[in-house]
Symmetry: C2
Subunit: 413 residues, 2 copies
């Protein structure tokens, strides 16, 4: 049991009681004996973030090959380094990524990268929630399809070591994965009640190539293949026509929106407000640091809001409350976790903010301050499932995590 | 004299000697007795930022009237509060704004707001550089024109109390200030060798209204009036045609670029790369917190880069080094101050960064990390003119500044 005394919540000072990882009582005054108590004077409580699309282990690529053409960047900077990766490296890279997430207020992420088991191990050890996926990509080679399907099956067969960490399956995209692979992965995921995740409609080129090859647009295609449902998360989804927006809304599929990456790689601006108006479930993600270059959801919210106003050609689009929801509640809900709200019965994933920080003043609209003016320096403490991950801005073991990360980066240079 | 030992600079560890507010020596090893010395192990040095367009005292409006239509926002939220402002309030609001600037690495700003003398007083006391302007706006009423011209004259007549703080003149815009006022202000500024500053071409509406009224576009108009030269700073400059870009480049006028504000108010995206390619002097600014909502130049750099790539429809546009220059060197140079570079002979405006912070790792491209991944939490120390403004993340007197700010906000609610 944990009692937060006098914490600022929705314009009032409240006491918050946490039992078994859940907010059990929130009222103006709670008396509770034999209970760890935190004095939260001058602190505000907000839900933590859920990052619904990233490739955590790409941390070593931050700042490498900046401002290059896509192919130049991939061929000369990214792929040669990725070829050197080992499982042990992925473990250390994932730990460093999770450190950055915790420091910036994130307690859950959806990951898609090599050696998923290592990322699972890192997430479990560090106490965060995750949906870690095994990635399929066959380049239309049937032997590879078979190999990936078997790997996926055995990946899902083994249980995750922590209840906070789920397993799922990803396919890279319709231009790198065959129908057989995509449909096979979706079926395997369904059998285990697991999520399926895929990059879709990130660029105009992807859409026109898909039209050329299949005579259909990407979302149309995978919907016709039966892949689109409420357990499917489509990353990016920048270039959808009206019919595709309707299909995504109807299927209750989740769009993982990555505005910074989309702008940085010049993929385009996703019309967020239009999607919300049409009833699409949208949740925010950072993508990896190689196209962001940060895992901070605080920075992502600001870019999301600005990009959405621009895409909608309206300053009243993308209201702060909606943007905050895409980064919190919508993300957790999308991944089947009852968190993202400070409310009785919700899981106790939360952060405590220093209300004396300049960036949170005046405290007229805390959510607006988080979306537009704050940065990670306002976050004092981060809790996941009622357990502390960061206290007084310190994460247990962070020096060692940084040392190991540096060593991995050195060996990949 | 101040000696920085073993500081990370341009990929190497260096010693940096500061004398009389200037970098006097930078080499791999400096031996200097009787001199204050700072051990800079695991610290990097970078120039601080120059914020070339803001309205510092608007801090009390942060988070107020979010996501409203412009007129609704101005009439119901902004103006009623601005009408209550007193000189004393402006003093406290300016101090709080400068606190936020220092915490986010800015040591110079260009200000345009009411009661400029109070902002000058605050800037002087807090040890930052500033160009503070008296604002002209006559709504084409000749009595008001006369009054403003006299005020401007007496404002410039009195010397600034600090060599770090310059005085200048602003006009609000061509739709709120008459030709007589604008030309009169520019002439008064010229006589005192001072800068002239004006909002220009912020929105499409401003351009079309100007065409209707004067038969010319705003930049064309003020250039024909003789107002455009290297001592004129035009804020926003979002909507310029080719001829206007040429005029600004030819005149060596400075564009103060405010990408966040332009996106948030849906004014448009300034084509930064095009301006740079055409030889326009561009420097970055945050505008006020009522349309940003932060004075952080770190956040502004990221939005500038993303917005510029989008405006240029190219991922290779807006290279990190160019973006960093708009936030540092270009700004100081624009305002006639030899700072913004860590180089012998330059003024010692600099910050020390904690290289152990996750956001600066891996340290492959420090400038890219500052533009895209860092936030204010990486900044340990900020110096202006060789003097410390923040040490170990603490600004002298910050609690009192925050208390006074809160009191002012309360009385304006």
């Amino acid at each position: 049991m944990l009692l937060l005394k006098n914490v600022y919540l929705n314009g009032k000072t409240q006491d918050v009681l946490i039992e078994n990882g859940t907010f059990s009582q929130i009222k103006s005054h709670i008396e509770q004996k034999n209970c760890e108590t935190i004095d939260c004077k001058d602190k505000a409580i907000l839900p933590t973030f859920c990052n619904t699309h990233t490739h955590a282990s790409m941390m070593f690529l931050r700042g490498i090959g900046e401002d290059l053409e896509l192919f130049d960047w991939l061929e000369n900077e990214i792929w040669p380094r990725e070829n050197k990766l080992t499982p042990e490296m992925i473990y250390h890279l994932s730990r460093f990524a999770v450190l950055e997430m915790i420091k910036t207020g994130t307690t859950m992420f959806l990951d898609m990268y090599f050696y998923a088991d290592e990322t699972i191990k890192a997430a479990c050890e560090m106490g965060v929630r995750a949906l870690v996926t095994y990635v399929g990509m066959d380049m239309f080679d049937e032997n590879e399809t078979q190999r990936r399907l078997e790997n996926a099956k055995s990946f899902l067969a083994q249980k995750s070591p922590s209840a906070l960490v789920q397993k799922g399956l990803s396919c890279h995209a319709v231009y790198t994965a065959s129908q057989k692979l995509i449909c096979g992965f979706k079926e395997l995921a369904n059998r285990k009640d697991a999520y399926f995740h895929i990059h879709t409609s990130e660029t105009q080129k992807e859409v026109s190539d898909c039209l050329k090859k299949y005579g259909k647009r990407p979302i149309q295609l995978i919907d016709d293949w039966g892949v689109l449902d409420e357990n499917t998360i489509i990353a990016h989804a920048v270039h959808l026509d009206d019919d595709e927006i309707s299909r995504v809304a109807r299927a209750k599929a989740i769009v993982a929106h990555n505005p910074t990456s989309n702008l940085k790689l010049n993929s385009g601006q996703m019309p967020l407000q239009k999607y919300l108006d049409r009833g699409v479930r949208v949740a925010l993600g950072t993508d990896s640091v190689s196209s962001n270059n940060s895992l901070s959801m605080i920075s992502e919210m600001k870019v999301a809001a600005l990009s959405a106003k621009s895409a909608a050609n309206s300053s009243t689009a993308a209201k702060v409350s909606d943007i905050f929801k895409t980064a919190t509640q919508n993300g957790f809900e999308a991944l089947g976790v009852k968190a993202g709200k400070i409310q009785e019965g919700y899981l106790a994933d939360f952060m405590l903010l220093d209300l004396k920080c300049h960036a949170l003043l005046p405290n007229v609209n805390l959510v607006s301050n988080m979306v537009y003016s704050a940065d990670s320096s306002v976050i004092c403490d981060v809790f996941c499932n009622g357990k502390p991950l960061m206290q007084n801005r310190v994460v247990a073991g962070e020096d060692e995590i940084v040392q190991n990360f540096k060593a991995v980066c050195k060996s990949l240079c």
